[in-house]
């Protein structure tokens, strides 16, 4: 088998073709949003071809609803204004990544429109351009060649997908993505997962990418001998890659066996497609799903699959049968699902009489199977027809599939071809200048150098602390002043704090314990960069607040990006009680140390209190 990866990573900064800022930077929450609905149509590419994937979507004729939150969207996302110039920050990040992967940048970027008419782009296309060609990434199993590095737009997030319609939120649409496509030189799930990890790690090192759930997405291109190229989209969890690859290989192998068996049973002559309206057989059915649907305009349509008895129920992936594949094809035409004769009819609540009447209507023999769909007639016919074409096609189809949570995948649409692309005429081609390349090389060199620096610094630290600092990754946001130290801000802050004469233990415990605790509380530590954390450490060391209050002060500083440690301590009434004030407090309270600590733990140092208590006794 052969497998290639497509890694999509969101880049930080403004959107690719407008000045909107992505939602997590603009501030989330219940937002005022404009709503509108659209319909998309199929069009020809510049080569006069209609893309199979687009045609498949268009034949579903769906209405899309959009919600456009005001702070993070404008007329560009709404397809109501031509795109603004491409974000140079995103281009710089992409060229830097090209440089890190030894990929050659193209002389001129041509922005293309890639037809996507599932509604996830209001325009009906995704804007994308090749920025780099070639290169490689080091993985545990050797150098993996890179094919292309693209810069492209993120799609809109789906809120609800229903029969005949889908609802999207536009706040995500247009966020810059870098897409790294490797050559199909991976030979196992494990190799694929390791390569994805290597690329993801490299991307994070740049400090130019977004972090958090959904900011990196892996697509897999998988093919086996006698099988076909299949693209599995949207594997979000890195740890699922190996399983997904292995299950896809298994699916193709098992599917080939099922199809081979079907072919030999049928012999040379392909069965004809015939669809029967069997609604009457179910007019008084106990099956709730059917009786409910029949109250509306739905019909029950059935189709014979001669000699397929027993084949449709064969499992080709965990909890997925050949029938599940056929059902996916049917669903692409807007029906809720498909019932087949290898399933338990009792499960649906059908009576034996209903099923024998159905089998009679279809003139089925024991070796024959049937497919059944309940939906409005037009949709039901299209759905059955699609399932039939899949069933009698004895090869693996080139497909785009959606990754499921359990490592399996479901059919989405045919694999798109080159007809899917046509030029984005609203944006002029962008020349990659020598200056841009030089800046990218400089940034890449800086990233590599600081990685070395980080390695050196870590190796000179006690092993335990080094491990803890490494594990603390991602707790601090990148400080704009220390670009060269970007790869690991936690380490860089640690070193800077030592340089500033702050107690090493305080720094280490704050980074490795306090920040971790805040993260576990669900507090976003994004607002803390090196500069702000240093100011808090300094304030603590200077006795503005007690060490025990560090977590509360930092929590306040995370919530309010403008808060200084002094003001945070003040507003929380956590200013440190020390020196004479502490001595007179001890005199007044007349408590022993444990009682005193219970009452004033956050406002004093235990050591100082202990010393004062001893003095008082004397």
């Amino acid at each position: 088998m052969k497998c290639g990866l497509e890694i999509h990573q969101r880049l930080s900064g403004r959107k690719l073709f407008c000045s909107c800022v992505p939602p997590d930077e603009a501030g989330a929450g219940a937002l005022e949003a404009e709503k509108f609905t659209r319909r998309l149509h199929t069009v020809r590419s510049e080569l006069g071809e209609v893309d199979a994937a687009s045609a498949a979507e268009a034949s579903r004729s769906r209405t899309f609803s959009y919600s456009a939150p005001l702070p993070s969207t404008c007329l560009v996302e709404s397809d109501e204004e031509p795109p603004h110039p491409l974000s140079l920050q995103a281009l710089h990040a992409t060229l830097t990544i090209c440089s890190l992967l030894s990929s050659s940048a193209v002389d001129e970027l041509h922005i293309m429109r890639k037809n996507v008419i599932d509604g996830s782009n209001t325009s009906g296309f995704q804007r994308t351009a090749i920025a780099g060609l070639g290169g490689s990434i080091a993985t545990p199993s050797g150098k993996l060649p890179i094919q292309t590095i693209c810069i492209e737009e993120e799609s809109a997030g789906i809120m609800e997908g229903r029969e005949g319609s889908a609802q999207y939120d536009l706040s995500r649409l247009g966020i810059p993505l870098v897409e790294i496509a490797t050559s199909p030189d991976l030979h196992s799930g494990k190799e694929a997962q390791e390569a994805a990890l290597a690329i993801g790690t490299l991307l994070r090192k740049t400090g130019m990418v977004s972090r958090g759930i959904g900011t990196i997405r892996q697509d897999l291109n998988i093919s086996i001998p006698d099988g076909a190229r299949v693209e599995i989209k949207g594997v979000q969890d890195l740890s699922l890659i190996a399983l997904t690859v292995d299950l896809e290989v298994q699916r193709q192998e098992k599917l080939l066996a099922v199809l081979g068996e079907a072919k030999s049973r049928i012999g040379g002559k392909l069965p004809q497609e015939s669809i029967f309206d069997v609604t009457d057989a179910f007019s008084s059915t106990q099956c709730q799903m059917v009786s409910k649907a029949l109250k509306g305009k739905a019909r029950v349509l059935a189709m014979p699959l001669p000699k397929y008895a027993g084949l449709i129920g064969i499992e080709i992936a965990p909890n997925r049968r050949f029938g599940s594949e056929l059902a996916d094809y049917a669903r692409a035409y807007g029906v809720k699902g498909l019932i087949h004769s290898d399933e338990s009819m009792e499960k649906y609540g059908f009576s034996d009489d209903e099923i024998s009447e159905l089998r009679m209507a279809l003139s089925l023999k024991a070796e024959d199977a049937f497919l059944l769909v309940v939906a409005d007639e037009k949709k039901a016919r299209a759905a059955l027809s699609a399932a039939f074409s899949r069933a009698i096609n004895f090869t693996i189809a080139e497909e785009t599939r959606r990754a499921n949570q359990d490592g399996t995948s479901s059919y989405m649409r045919p694999l798109p071809g080159r007809a899917r692309m046509y030029p984005e005429t609203d944006v002029q081609p962008i020349t990659v200048t020598k200056e841009m390349l030089a800046e990218a090389r400089k940034a890449a060199d800086g990233i590599l150098a600081s990685e070395e620096e980080a390695k050196d610094a870590l190796s000179s630290l006690p092993a335990e602390l080094a491990a803890q600092l490494s594990a603390a990754k991602g707790l601090l946001s990148h400080s704009s002043v220390h670009k060269s130290r970007a790869p690991m801000p936690e380490l860089s802050t640690y070193l800077a704090a030592l340089e500033a004469g702050i107690d090493g233990k305080l720094v280490a415990s704050t980074i490795t314990n306090t920040l971790q605790s805040l993260k576990r509380e669900g507090i976003s530590t994004r607002a803390l960069d090196e500069e702000r954390l240093l100011s808090a450490l300094r304030a603590c060391q200077d006795g503005i607040f007690a060490r025990a209050a560090m977590q509360d002060v930092l929590r306040e500083m995370c919530k309010d990006a403008a808060a200084k440690p002094e003001t945070a301590a003040h507003s929380l009434s956590l200013e440190k009680i020390t020196g004479k004030a502490l001595a007179s407090l001890i005199e007044k309270e007349k408590l022993d140390l444990p009682a005193l600590m219970a009452k004033y733990r956050l406002r004093m140092d235990a050591q100082e209190a202990q010393g004062l208590l001893k003095n008082a006794k004397k």
């Binding site: 510049e46 193209v106 296309f125 692309m421 020349t431």
Partner: protein, 439 residues
């Protein structure tokens, strides 16, 4: 990098050929595309992506297979034109009929009306006829085009068309619809302009809904000239605006067209096949005789008044036979009634134009609202000088077209004033309704 480079002849391969390019960035195979930039070639890679390669970086181009770029025109078969109970589509170009020009990379007017019929026949209950009157982007349209278009619409209606749909660029659509409102009077049926704000080569184009609504409108019980475009950002409703009382109010939104100082005539919901009359002023079909009169005097200027407008700029308008000035506020130009030392009035120059027999019409540059030259002394001065337009709420564009039409018929200043200040084809409303500003 010291590398010997042989300058590469640009003639290696022609657009459509499969080529292999060896360059500094590696070897690239693909289809050669027409280049739009000297010094760079563009190729389409097998993945469908295009990339640009600098000539100076190219070592070698090898033609692998000759080919040509297919024209993107859909296969088109000639069908017989219907003769009874039909609607006619008149093509004038514009975005609705546009597609990409691969040479320039820009969007150009191209599609034939026959293609439009093929594309839209299923949207109409009545058989369709189609004719291309001209095919240009609407910014290039002149009064000669309006005359041809009015003639073509009249011919179709006299030949039995039950309604006419005109596909037109949106930039100057409201000028054309105003012109046809004056030229085609006593219309027995609807003449409906439509267009699109997103070209029909993209799947999110607004063309389909606009066209579907326009065809429904053309088949409706209305008479007169209208513009039919999206009502809002959704692909569900279109509005029919009165041809002489509408304006493009946004550069890019699909609901760019707004009725000005009146309510729209009707709303069309094509997906539900619904037609809702909105304005009581909308007239039903009738059996009257269409009167076609396309005479225009094109020697008219349309300018803005603005802070700092120079007297010599106004004086230079003496070479025209009529002038429309989009005045500020209620209809003003700098007149310095407060005798400020820094103010530069242009009243004297306007007076001179009028005295020499050139009518000067004032229209509102605020677009919304009515001219009233009685409120401020600057308005009164202008009116005393003989400026026309008092109490008119026409758009500057409708006033411009109207002045061309009036000047082709009347020579006397007093008759011109009378005609200009009287509503002829719906370009002036008598009442300013509260809701007029909401549409």
């Amino acid at each position: 990098m010291a590398k010997a480079k042989t300058p590469k002849p640009a003639s290696s391969g022609k657009p459509g050929d499969s080529i292999s390019v060896s360059s500094d960035t590696g070897e690239h195979k693909g289809i050669l595309l027409p280049s739009n930039k000297p010094g760079t070639i563009a190729i389409k890679l097998p993945s469908g992506y295009n990339i640009g390669i600098k000539q100076e970086n190219i070592q070698k181009i090898e033609v692998l297979e000759t080919g040509k770029l297919p024209s993107s025109a859909a296969p088109s078969k000639k069908s017989a034109q219907p003769t009874k109970d039909f609607l006619t589509i008149l093509g004038c170009g514009g975005t609705i009929a546009s597609r990409i020009d691969y040479r320039t990379g820009a969007v150009d007017a191209a599609t034939s009306p026959q293609e439009l019929v093929e594309a839209f026949a299923h949207l109409s209950k009545k058989p369709l006829r189609a004719r291309s009157v001209f095919s240009i982007m609407s910014e290039d349209i002149t009064h000669l085009h309006w005359q041809k278009l009015a003639q073509a619409a009249a011919d179709e209606i006299n030949d039995g068309a039950q309604g006419v749909v005109i596909t037109h660029g949106t930039d100057t659509m409201s000028y054309s619809s105003a012109a046809l409102s004056f030229m085609l009077q006593n219309l027995p049926c609807p003449v409906i302009f439509t267009g699109s704000q997103r070209s029909s080569d993209r799947s999110s184009s607004d063309a389909a809904l606009n066209m579907q609504a326009a065809l429904l409108g053309a088949d409706s019980d209305l008479s007169g000239v209208f513009i039919c475009m999206h009502e809002n950002l959704s692909d569900d409703a279109c509005l029919l605006h009165f041809g002489a009382k509408v304006r493009k109010m946004h550069t890019s939104r699909r609901d760019a067209f707004r009725s000005i100082n009146c309510r729209p005539a009707a709303r069309v919901l094509p997906l539900q096949g619904k037609f809702e009359k909105i304005s009581p002023l909308a007239q039903p079909r009738n059996t009257g005789k269409l009167s076609l009169d396309t005479k225009l005097n094109p020697n008219v200027a349309l300018i803005y008044s603005y802070p700092g407008i120079k007297p010599e700029m106004v004086a230079s308008l003496s070479k025209y036979e009529g002038v429309v000035i989009a005045g500020t506020g209620l209809g003003h130009v700098p007149s310095n009634t407060s005798n400020d030392k820094d103010a530069v009035p242009v009243i004297k120059e306007i007076s001179a134009l009028i005295s020499s027999g050139i009518p000067v019409v004032i229209a509102p540059q605020t677009i919304y609202g009515r001219i009233n030259m009685n409120v401020y002394s600057s308005g009164r001065v202008l009116r005393e000088a003989g400026a026309i337009g008092h109490l008119c709420d026409f758009t500057p564009e409708a006033a411009y077209v109207k002045l061309m039409w009036v000047l082709a018929r009347e020579k006397k200043m007093e008759r011109i004033r009378e005609m200009m200040e009287k509503n002829l084809v719906g370009e002036i409303s008598e009442r300013s309704e509260i809701v007029d500003f909401d549409f």
